[in-house]
């Protein structure tokens, strides 16, 4: 498999899961987080498969769907920061997404094991 094909597969797999990861990260956070903070933690835990610039539109899309809320606050260090927090709808949605993800992961694992064995 060429490197390009690997990248393409990664991108496709990531496209569905990034929103799940971000929602889960924000739900687990003690207080609202701002874009850079979210991106840094994502980068620390997740390798380099996803460009951090691609997280911001996902955050915005989650907000547009009512799963996140945000407030813009000025910062001493630079431009204003947009802090994101999970809404009640977001918490409920995360629960559903988590179930869907677990079912999908288990199913794929079973297929892979079956074809391997």
């Amino acid at each position: 498999m060429t490197e390009r094909a690997v990248r393409k597969l990664r991108k496709e797999l990531n496209s569905g899961t990034v929103a799940l990861v971000l929602l889960s990260m924000l739900e687990g956070a003690a207080e609202p987080m701002y874009g850079y903070e979210i991106a840094r933690r994502f980068g620390e835990s997740g390798g380099d498969a996803v460009k951090l610039g691609a997280l911001y539109p996902v955050l915005r899309s989650l907000e547009a769907q009512g799963l996140l809320t945000s407030t813009v606050e000025p910062s001493d260090a630079g431009p204003p920061r947009k802090y994101y927090d999970v809404t009640d709808e977001g918490v409920a949605t995360l629960e559903t997404w988590r179930q869907v993800w677990e079912e999908t992961r288990d199913r794929v694992d079973r297929w892979l094991e079956a074809s391997n064995g």
Partner: protein, 292 residues
């Protein structure tokens, strides 16, 4: 011009070349500036920050991809423009009507804030306190522009910025210069003043038109069944419709309601275009685009 500004310029161009909405460009710039400046403030180099964040073209593509997703997920592929005169009024029409009714309240509020701000700015300008007051006032104007944009996106279904306007890096003086030189500061102010007369017309027209339509629809039947006068007081005398006129009058009322729905959709669309031009600016104009 620092290097982040150059990155933002490239991002802007990449988004424009992909045909992105000006509102998306404004949001994307806000996000990129936040990340890159924070990463540099954290001690990293711009090159590292860009390597993690993505090249302008990649980032631009992800915004467009996500924007398409948002539009489809929230609104569905069917657009309201397919509605003809006699289509049943749905949620979008109700939202347009809500905006027209709400515009009186917001119009009064915007107008009052703008007028008080302008008068106090002019009065205080001779004192030292005048300068910070004027700056706070300009900040308020720009914030109201964003808030009105959110209302318009929700009720009139037109993409507006979800982020505040990006201020340039480099101290208060730069920021003030940028604010004063930005066309949107002034068009937003004019928009706020104009919302009062527009709000009066929108609210008055909506209430009058629907009132009249409902009156013609309902009162002829009331007259037929309960004997209430169609018009209770015309120069001191009651006015009754002739018996044959009950049905046509009622039908005219119904037609009037549908015409009002169509007018509400039309005015909503026109107002959204006007508001976008005033509050967001068009990408084509030099001063309307974000200069950093």
């Amino acid at each position: 011009m620092d290097d982040v500004s150059q990155y933002l310029e490239s991002l802007r161009q990449a988004l424009r070349s992909l045909g992105a909405d000006p509102a998306v460009v404004q949001d994307a710039e806000f996000d990129a500036a936040e990340y890159l400046r924070a990463a540099i403030a954290d001690g990293g180099s711009l090159a590292d920050a860009v390597a993690d964040f993505g090249e302008p073209e990649e980032v631009a593509a992800s915004y467009l991809e996500s924007e398409r997703g948002i539009t489809e997920a929230l609104r569905g592929p069917k657009r309201e423009s397919r509605q003809g005169l006699f289509s049943a009024p749905g949620v979008p029409t109700a939202a347009r009507l809500a905006y027209l009714l709400l515009s009186l309240g917001t119009g009064i509020a915007y107008f009052s804030v703008a007028l008080v701000g302008l008068v106090l700015s002019a009065t205080l300008a001779v004192f030292i306190i005048g300068i910070p007051f004027i700056l706070v006032f300009i900040g308020v104007v720009r914030t109201i522009g964003l808030v009105e944009g959110r209302i318009i996106e929700t009720l009139l279904d037109v993409r507006m910025p979800r982020r505040p306007l990006l201020d340039p890096a480099g101290g208060w003086w730069q920021r003030i210069k940028h604010w004063l030189g930005d066309r949107r500061t002034w068009t937003s102010l004019v928009y706020m003043l104009g919302q009062l007369p527009l709000g009066i017309v929108y609210f008055g027209g909506t209430v009058f038109g629907f009132g009249l339509g409902l009156w013609f629809l309902v009162v002829p039947w009331l007259q037929a069944f309960t004997g209430v006068a169609f018009l209770p007081d015309v120069n001191g005398a009651e006015f009754f419709l002739d018996g044959w006129a009950v049905l046509p009058a009622s039908a005219a009322g119904l037609l009037m309601l549908f015409v009002m729905f169509a007018i509400a959709r039309f005015v909503g669309r026109i107002h959204a275009v006007y508001a976008k031009w005033m509050l967001v600016g068009s990408l084509g104009s030099r001063r309307g685009s974000q200069s950093l």
